[in-house]
């Protein structure tokens, strides 16, 4: 078996899901190559070379791969895909964008968002917002797979893979990258945080999220949100946790003023410990919470910040 893992990175460091994806590759078993494609990303390739279990790193460094545009990246991948039995990437916004495009170019039915490896051709994936788990088997010649990071531990350091340059592929000229507007924050990334404090519509305003930020800062936590909080403009879209936002499973998830719709639960119910603070004693979020407090958040959150 020969497995290609496509790294997600910011040029310098790898994004959290990548090492979990390597762990999924290890479970499949075989030679593991990591591709780092981007612009000015040699540092990230060096980081990838140190992941335990990785045999080789391919570095495709070209302005063609700046940003997350799928067209040129998949054109490059198409030229090397035939060498692999499995191609894996994280089921993040990055991987979800280009992997299906690659899959169709290879005439392969992608397996999305796997949370467990049963064997080299059989995988478990959540469907219906995680209300059901499907075990699926692929007969395709190349398995194209996106990996749900919360299903796999992060791979350790300790590797010493060789880094080889991979010449850039064609420029399809289909899309022009005009830049990114990234949310600035000193807090940990949602998908990497050990603790997450999330707010919902109950927060009432973006201004009130300061209460959660104060708590988050005391805990070294990331701040997340429900869709309602994002749609209401309290916080940016990249805060959204859920079926159609980010999937997280921190050690501690604190849900504040969030009712607990299935679409929200889909993104956080695998957290180790869940706390819910809601003034409604019937809120469905309590069904998944380990500890729940029925109280007004404007009273409870400042108290909590003070007492920990």
């Amino acid at each position: 078996m020969s497995i290609l893992v496509i790294a997600e990175h910011d040029g310098k460091l790898l994004k959290p899901g990548t090492t979990n994806t390597v762990t999924a590759a290890v479970k499949i078993g075989g030679d593991i190559t990591v591709l780092v494609a981007g612009h000015q990303c040699a540092d990230a390739a060096q980081v990838a070379a140190k992941i335990a279990g990785v045999g080789k790193v391919l570095l495709a460094d070209s302005p063609l791969y700046a940003g997350g545009a799928a067209e040129n990246l998949t054109a490059l991948l198409q030229t090397i895909a035939g060498q692999y039995t499995h191609i894996l990437a994280s089921a993040t916004g990055y991987g979800k964008n280009f992997m299906p495009r690659l899959s169709a170019l290879l005439d392969v039915q992608q397996i999305s968002d796997i949370s467990a490896v049963v064997s080299a051709d059989t995988f478990v994936r959540p469907i219906y917002a995680g209300n059901a788990m499907a075990t699926v088997q692929s007969a395709d010649k190349i398995k194209v797979i996106t990996v749900r990071a919360t299903g796999f531990d992060a791979a350790a350091e300790g590797g010493s893979a060789t880094v080889e340059n991979l010449a850039a592929g064609p420029d399809t000229g289909l899309a022009t990258f005009n830049g990114q507007e990234l949310s600035k924050s000193d807090r940990p990334e949602l998908t990497a945080a050990r603790i997450i404090v999330s707010g919902g519509r109950g927060m009432g305003s973006g201004e009130n999220f300061k209460l959660l930020e104060a708590l988050a800062d005391k805990l070294g936590a990331a701040v997340g949100a429900s869709r309602a909080a994002v749609d209401s403009g309290y916080v940016p879209n990249d805060y959204q946790v859920g079926q159609t936002g980010k999937i997280v499973a921190p050690e501690l998830y604190i849900a504040v003023g969030i009712s607990g719709a299935i679409q929200h639960l889909a993104g956080m119910k695998d957290s180790k410990v869940i706390i819910a603070i809601n003034k409604d004693p019937e809120a469905p979020i309590f069904a998944v919470a380990d500890y729940w407090l029925v109280e007004d958040l404007f009273k409870a959150v400042p108290e909590l910040t003070q007492q920990i």
Partner: protein, 249 residues
């Protein structure tokens, strides 16, 4: 320009889904169905572009059983001009969906295809990107804004760290994210009008597409349940539990 939108009939997002006891799938008998929410956003976008004078015709496409005609009627009540149903009885996986949509695009020659980012039943998040690949067109997945300027479109995509801006050449495939728009409600007069709009029914064979699933479902199970939690009386008790029992802070 002509726009093609895809609409999938799925279990209503607010229904509690139940796994069948024989492990073959989820219960669909007597379950409320609805248009996939991301497809509603796709239709709404096309209708707004038509209202703005950018779009001349909207063709809605659905793949599924004859009951998917209802979903097409809803799309037409929202403002789509006509519907095409590709009638298939069983499961149609995203690669086959993309092949069918491509075959219809080849016939219809739209300048823009708008699809949902994800079907909320299979949660695959694939068909749009696959359709773009098969057509050799650019893609803008997870868009929250789109402006058409002649032969190109400026799009804003929702990415994990924030937003990304692209200019794509048309024709292209766009997939919708939640913030693109808020779909309108259909009104009774528009439902009546939609009944008179043309709806064509095709078979996959007529489009030359093999829809046999590539992925075999071995079993479908309930997810692991969380054990019941405890209610705490106040913040003090909560902090004590976190420190002494859960030991997470």
């Amino acid at each position: 320009m002509k726009v093609l939108v895809t609409v999938k009939r799925v279990i209503d997002p607010y229904v509690k889904v139940r796994v069948k006891s024989d492990g073959t799938g989820v219960e669909t008998a007597n379950v409320k169905m609805a248009m996939n929410p991301f497809c509603e956003i796709a239709v709404e976008q096309a209708v707004r572009m038509k209202e703005a004078g950018i779009v001349s015709e909207i063709v809605a496409v659905s793949i599924g059983t004859l009951q998917s005609q209802e979903t097409l009627r809803t799309a037409m009540a929202m403002g789509a001009d006509r519907g095409i149903l590709v009638e298939v009885a069983g499961e149609v996986q995203p690669l086959a969906v993309a092949k069918l949509v491509k075959a219809i695009v080849d016939k219809e020659q739209p300048k823009l295809v708008i699809m949902g980012k994800q079907a909320i039943d299979d949660d695959s998040n694939q068909a749009g990107q696959m359709t773009a690949a098969l057509l050799g067109w650019p893609q803008a997945a997870f868009t929250s804004a789109i402006t058409v300027n002649g032969d190109t479109a400026d799009v804003t995509r929702e990415i994990d760290g924030g937003l990304e801006k692209l200019t794509i050449k048309l024709p292209a495939v766009v997939t919708t994210d939640l913030r693109l728009n808020e779909p309108r409600y259909v009104t009774l007069p528009n439902i009546m009008k939609a009944k008179k709009k043309p709806l064509e029914v095709l078979k996959p064979e007529a489009l030359g597409v093999d829809v046999v699933p590539r992925l075999k479902t071995i079993k479908v199970e309930e997810p692991a349940k969380r054990s019941a939690g405890v209610k705490v009386a106040d913040v003090q008790e909560l902090v004590a539990k976190l420190k002494n029992e859960a030991r997470v802070i």
